[in-house]
């Protein structure tokens, strides 16, 4: 009787969940050891972190607010990956969506019921416009979208600073890097948590369905995996590339829209909070699965919120970042391990 470990091509579901749970526990254990060595009061830190995440109404609300943009940016990156494109620019499209939605809120008069759908459309269109040039450059001139989408992030972030400190600055003079409070809000359904969250979840589930259960989804899969095979099977690679990349930009734009009218209620510098970049991590954790994005975004939200809680307890930012990395690292190992199984066999 010999026991071996084998890599299997498809994930073993029960083992996968177990491996990930063990990974998170291990990461927490290592974190606890580090804190204990540095002389912190583990019980106090732990209970504080718990209270500011799952352990209190406010903690849960904050998680709900953080997870919404992460689901959308993670979904944006995942969708682009399906067609073989790396959208590193969710951050910039997030900014563009936020700007477009703010413009509508500031300059289109009317009741909320009319303006809100307009803001929704503006957010999506803003994100789409932001990825349009990288998309066309990739589709027609084979320019790497990795570079172009990334560079446009800085343009988007700086444009927000310009608007929020210049032409759109709050006229009341009470803030110096933000617009006035926007006249319309996305309605909330639980405390501060607005309808952006259920919409993001719903969007993710329906996109997962579209990708798996439509002819279009199948074609996107083939086109994204091998453009030459797509050409061979008469699948229009370029058309799918353009449509899917624009979709990706629109989803990231929606993230920015919800953030500005649901969470911050003003357009302000630094509004994107790296949500676009963290979306890349979410997508990598989700391993290309649209549904996996929800789990990945939830994990990242807990990590981010815990990090903020630790900082308020005097733990310095480098330690928090190191911990974040550690948890991601362990989760990635857990991910990989879920693709193995233990095989018992008699020696032949």
């Amino acid at each position: 009787m010999s026991i071996r470990i084998q890599r299997v091509p498809s994930e073993n579901v029960a083992g996968g969940i177990a491996a990930r749970l063990i990974a998170i526990l291990l990461a927490l254990l290592v974190a606890a050891i580090v804190f204990a060595i540095s002389g912190a009061d583990l019980g106090k830190l732990g209970s504080h972190v718990f209270k500011s995440t799952f352990g209190s109404r406010f903690g849960l609300m904050d998680l709900g607010l953080i997870v919404t943009p992460l689901i959308l940016t993670g979904l944006a990156v995942t969708v682009a990956m399906k067609v073989g494109a790396w959208n590193i620019g969710a951050e910039g499209q997030f900014c563009a969506g936020a700007i477009a939605a703010t413009a509508v809120a500031l300059f289109v008069p009317g009741p909320t019921i009319v303006v809100l759908p307009l803001m929704f459309v503006a957010g999506a269109v803003g994100g789409m416009l932001w990825i349009l040039i990288p998309t066309l450059a990739r589709a027609y001139a084979d320019v790497s979208e990795l570079i172009t989408t990334l560079l446009l992030n800085f343009v988007g972030a700086l444009f927000i600073y310009y608007l929020a400190t210049g032409p759109w600055l709050d006229p009341s003079g009470l803030s110096f890097a933000a617009t006035k409070r926007l006249p319309h809000d996305v309605p909330s359904f639980w405390g501060d948590v607005h309808w952006g969250l259920p919409i993001a979840v719903l969007l993710t589930i329906s996109l997962a369905g579209v990708l798996n259960y439509t002819r279009w989804g199948y074609e996107v899969r083939i086109a994204g995996s091998n453009p030459a095979a797509a050409r061979y099977a008469a699948i229009p690679f370029r058309r799918h590339l353009i449509v899917v990349m624009l979709m990706s930009g629109a989803i990231a734009g929606l993230a920015g829209m919800f953030e500005v009218i649901g969470t911050t209620h003003r357009l302000q510098g630094g509004i994107s909070n790296n949500f676009g970049y963290i979306g890349i991590m979410v997508a990598v954790l989700a391993r290309g699965s649209a549904i996996g994005v929800i789990a990945g975004a939830a994990l990242m939200a807990v990590i981010l919120k815990s990090g903020i809680a630790l900082q308020t307890q005097g733990v310095n930012i480098s330690t928090v970042l190191a911990l974040t990395g550690l948890i991601l690292f362990f989760t990635a190992i857990g991910d990989e391990l879920s693709h193995y199984r233990i095989v018992r066999s008699k020696p032949a």
Binding site: Q6, S10, T214, R215, S225, N226
Partner: protein
């Protein structure tokens, strides 16, 4: 186990072959998920010999060599070098023990020069290096090993044969005593291959040993001193090459008598060749990816129930011809008719819808999406039709059912249809592609080099598929560079040279030499079907 070793060595001593083996493998086994890659393999390599390792795709040759070179560790069994059992924790240790391998796909840095490639990752590379020093050292090593290379040339500028020589030089410069070559001639011209054989003989004559992996019987008979045949991961036999013949080796390799007979004979009940052509080309010209004219005024007719072979040295327009015939490449001028309908300016979709199947030349690059599942790959022709799709809804369960039936028809056993198709062996990939295309080929099948890189068993399966289609009344266009194969299967053979058809001949009325001359550019104007060629 120990007894066995003694017996083997005794027998060798008795047969007069030089003493102790350089390498011995004893009872080696290696398992992968769902696959026994190697089981109970014993193998001896003697100093001074060229030992051929023969087997079909997936017979376990590469796995066995990966074990010997430290890439894999065996699950069972031992590796004995110079009489001492060793374990290799990494390829570096195998190299230190004098075992080097030249892989089928070269592991060179293309942007570097030959000298830089030779010195890359080598402990003997001097700490302070200069271009001149590296090139001088390379020239010296090359001269001492009698291998002609250009030390200052960039690898990307070299021919495949020259690149292979650099690979060999890199291995030998590390003081290798055992040189393993994986399908070395697959990428070489005949002249380059005979150059290589000469170098291998010189290397072996210095008391070293060569393991030569191949599934080409001719060259195994030509180059090797002994042959070991693997089948299904197990060793079938080790024999001196002088006692082997082609037929016997083929039998050992596939485990049954290979049908080398003429496959042009129709089965009773087969549909006759039609009078009207199913495919006709009139003065078709096309450009290649670089914009050069690669097809010039090609005029051809193919009738239903007929196999038309396309012969020629690779790169004379055959690839582009098969692409033009399947709508993947647009013709620049001329007319393509299928069953009388003009498809000249149509795309791949219309060609497929018109009952034209296509086995592309480079299946992994254009016929398959390697990273996607087997299911996704085998339904690529039918995903849009019922029952796989209803309207815009795609049904994964129906796709999985179709995938199972295609795999069954191809006799490919698949442990898990969600597995990426690249995990299958080349032969199994090609069987699936062929079966997939046959399902849509109601009028015509265009097969470009379908047997390239396959073993005898898979090639026979391919040939069987084509005759099956032919007997069902489908026209088959069969592009190959193996004349034997073309003669065995084709009713007529068209020969291409520099993008033109040199002539179309009846394969029962022509000999190999004539075809050879046409492949070299000699026209055959008297052939009846070649009218219209100016």
């Amino acid at each position: 186990m120990v007894m066995n070793v003694m017996l083997d060595v005794d027998r060798m001593a008795a047969s007069g072959v030089a003493g102790q083996p350089i390498v011995s493998l004893r009872g080696v086994a290696k398992h992968f998920p769902g696959v026994i890659a190697n089981q109970d393999v014993d193998f001896d390599l003697l100093p001074g010999e060229i030992h051929a390792l023969l087997g079909e795709n997936g017979a376990g040759k590469s796995t066995l060599m990966n074990i010997l070179t430290g890439i894999y560790r065996p699950d069972l069994g031992e590796i004995i070098i110079d009489g001492k059992a060793v374990t290799f924790a990494s390829p570096v240790e195998a190299i230190a023990a004098g075992i080097g391998m030249v892989h089928q796909h070269f592991k060179l840095v293309k942007a570097f020069t030959v000298a830089e490639n030779i010195h890359l990752g080598w402990s003997e590379t001097p700490g302070r290096i200069s271009k001149a020093l590296l090139e001088a050292r390379t020239a010296e090593i090359a001269a001492s090993l009698n291998l002609a290379v250009k030390p200052g040339a960039r690898v990307s500028d070299l021919s495949t044969g020259e690149q292979q020589r650099v690979e060999i030089l890199r291995v030998l410069s590390r003081k290798a005593r055992v040189l393993i070559l994986d399908e070395p001639t697959a990428v070489l011209t005949p002249a380059e291959a005979s150059e290589l054989f000469k170098a291998l003989r010189q290397f072996a004559a210095r008391g070293n040993a060569v393991i030569f992996i191949s599934h080409k019987l001719d060259e195994v008979l030509e180059i090797s001193d002994r042959v070991t045949v693997l089948r299904g991961g197990r060793k079938v036999a080790t024999r001196p090459t002088s006692e082997c013949d082609k037929r016997g080796l083929a039998r050992l390799m596939v485990g049954q008598e290979v049908v080398l007979s003429n496959m042009r004979e129709r089965k009773p009940g087969a549909k006759p060749i039609s009078d009207a052509p199913v495919l006709s080309l009139r003065n078709v010209s096309a450009r290649d990816d670089l914009g050069n004219m690669c097809l010039k005024n090609v005029t051809l007719d193919l009738r239903a129930g007929e196999i038309l072979g396309i012969a020629g040295v690779a790169g004379n327009g055959q690839k582009e011809l098969s692409q033009v015939l399947t709508g993947v490449r647009r013709a620049a001028s001329g007319e393509i008719r299928v069953c009388g309908k003009d498809l000249s300016s149509r795309g791949a979709e219309e060609f497929a819808a018109f009952g034209i199947g296509h086995i592309p030349e480079d299946r992994l690059h254009s016929g398959l999406a390697p990273a996607l599942s087997i299911t996704d790959n085998v339904v690529i022709r039918e995903y849009g039709k019922a029952p796989l799709s209803q309207g815009w809804v795609y049904r994964p369960s129906a796709a999985a059912a179709l995938a199972r039936s295609i795999a069954e028809a191809a006799s490919v056993s698949v442990p898990d249809f969600r597995m990426p198709v690249r995990n299958l062996s080349g032969g199994n990939q090609q069987r699936l592609v062929a079966r997939r295309e046959m399902r849509i080929a109601s009028n015509l099948l265009v097969a470009a080099y379908p047997s390239r890189g396959l073993d005898v068993g898979a090639i026979n399966a391919m040939m069987g598929y084509f005759t099956e289609l032919r007997d069902a009344g489908v026209g088959v266009l069969f592009v190959s560079e193996e004349l034997e194969e073309l003669f065995k299967l084709s009713d007529r053979i068209a020969v291409m040279f520099h993008g033109e058809v040199m002539g179309v001949v009846d394969s029962s009325e022509v000999d190999i030499e004539t075809i050879g001359l046409m492949m070299g550019g000699q026209r055959r104007l008297e052939a009846g079907s070649a009218e219209g060629i100016s």
